[in-house]
C-alpha cells in the first residue's frame, strides 16, 4: 500500500488487522485510566484495559493466561477497586485537579520513557516469529507440571504470600 508521501506501508494480514483493533482499544482504555477526572470512569476504563490485555494473550496463544487475566483482574481486582472507590466516595470527584503539582514533569518523563522504549523496540532486530504453538490441554498441563517441579518454591511462596496478604488486608481494613 502506497501512502501519498511515498511511504511504503505493508498491507496487514487479517490477524494483524484484528490485533491492531484490540491493541488500539487497550491503549485508548489505558490512556483513559490516567486521563479521566472521574475516578469511577478510570476504574471502568481499567476493566476495559484488562479485557484488552486478555485479548492480547489470546493472540499470543496463551489461553490459560487469558482466562486467568479475566478471572483475577476483571473478576477480583477491578471489583476490589470499585469497592474501594465507593467506600471513599467523597474523594470520587475531588475538589481540585486530580493531578498533583509534579504532573508536568511526570508527563514529560513518561513521554520520554515511552519514546525511548519505542525506539528500542523498533531498532532491535527481534526474531521474526517463534515456532508454531499447538495451544491445547497439553500446554496447560505442561505449565502445571512446571509449577510443581521447576518453580515449586516460587509457587509455594506465592501461595503463602497470598494467604498472608489476605489476612493482613482483613486486619488492616477491619473496623476497630
Amino acid at each position: 500500500m502506497q501512502l501519498p508521501l511515498g511511504i511504503e506501508v505493508p498491507i496487514p494480514t487479517f490477524e494483524q488487522f484484528v490485533f491492531i483493533q484490540v491493541a488500539l482499544l487497550t491503549a485508548v482504555a489505558g490512556l483513559a485510566v490516567v486521563m479521566s477526572r472521574n475516578l469511577f470512569h478510570s476504574a471502568l476504563a481499567l476493566t476495559l484495559t484488562f479485557f484488552g490485555v486478555a485479548g492480547v494473550y489470546v493472540f499470543l496463544e496463551a489461553e490459560f493466561l487469558a482466562v486467568s487475566q479475566v478471572l483475577v483482574y476483571v473478576g477480583a481486582i477491578a471489583m476490589l477497586i470499585a469497592f474501594a472507590i465507593m467506600l471513599t466516595r467523597s474523594m470520587m470527584y475531588g475538589r481540585t485537579s486530580p493531578l498533583n503539582n509534579q504532573w508536568g514533569k511526570s508527563s514529560l518523563f513518561a513521554f520520554l520513557f515511552f519514546i525511548g522504549l519505542l525506539a528500542f523496540a523498533r531498532a532491535t532486530p527481534w526474531p521474526a516469529a517463534g515456532e508454531d504453538v499447538v495451544a491445547d490441554e497439553a500446554l496447560i498441563g505442561a505449565l502445571g507440571r512446571e509449577f510443581v517441579t521447576t518453580y515449586v518454591i516460587a509457587f509455594e511462596v506465592l501461595g503463602l504470600l497470598l494467604l498472608l496478604a489476605l489476612v493482613g488486608a482483613v486486619m488492616l481494613a477491619r473496623d476497630r
Binding site: V56, Y73, F155, L166
Partner: protein, 104 residues
Amino acid sequence: MVPLSWYLMLAAFLFSCGLYGALARRNAIAMLMGIELMLNAANINLVAFWRHGVAPMEDLTGQAFAVLIIGLAAAEAAVGLALIIAVYRERRTIDVDELDILSG
C-alpha cells in the same frame, strides 16, 4: 503472525500510561490503578517473549512468570486497597498530597 515489536510497543505505551498515573495522580486509588497498568504491561512483554522464544512448547518460563505476577498483583491490590481504606478511616482523605505527617 503479529511481529514481536508490536506487542512491545503496546506494552511500552501501557507502561508509560501507568507510570504517568502513578506519578501524577493525587488520589491513592488512581496511583494503584497506574501500578496495575504497569504490571499488565510487564506481563504482556513476558508472554510475548515466551511466544517468540526458541522453543515455546518446551520452555514455559515466560508464562510461569506471568502467572506468578498475576498472583502478586492480586496480593498487592488487596493490601494496597486495605491500607487506603484504613487511611481514609483515620484521616477522611486519600489525597496523597495531604498524607504528609512523615515529611519534616
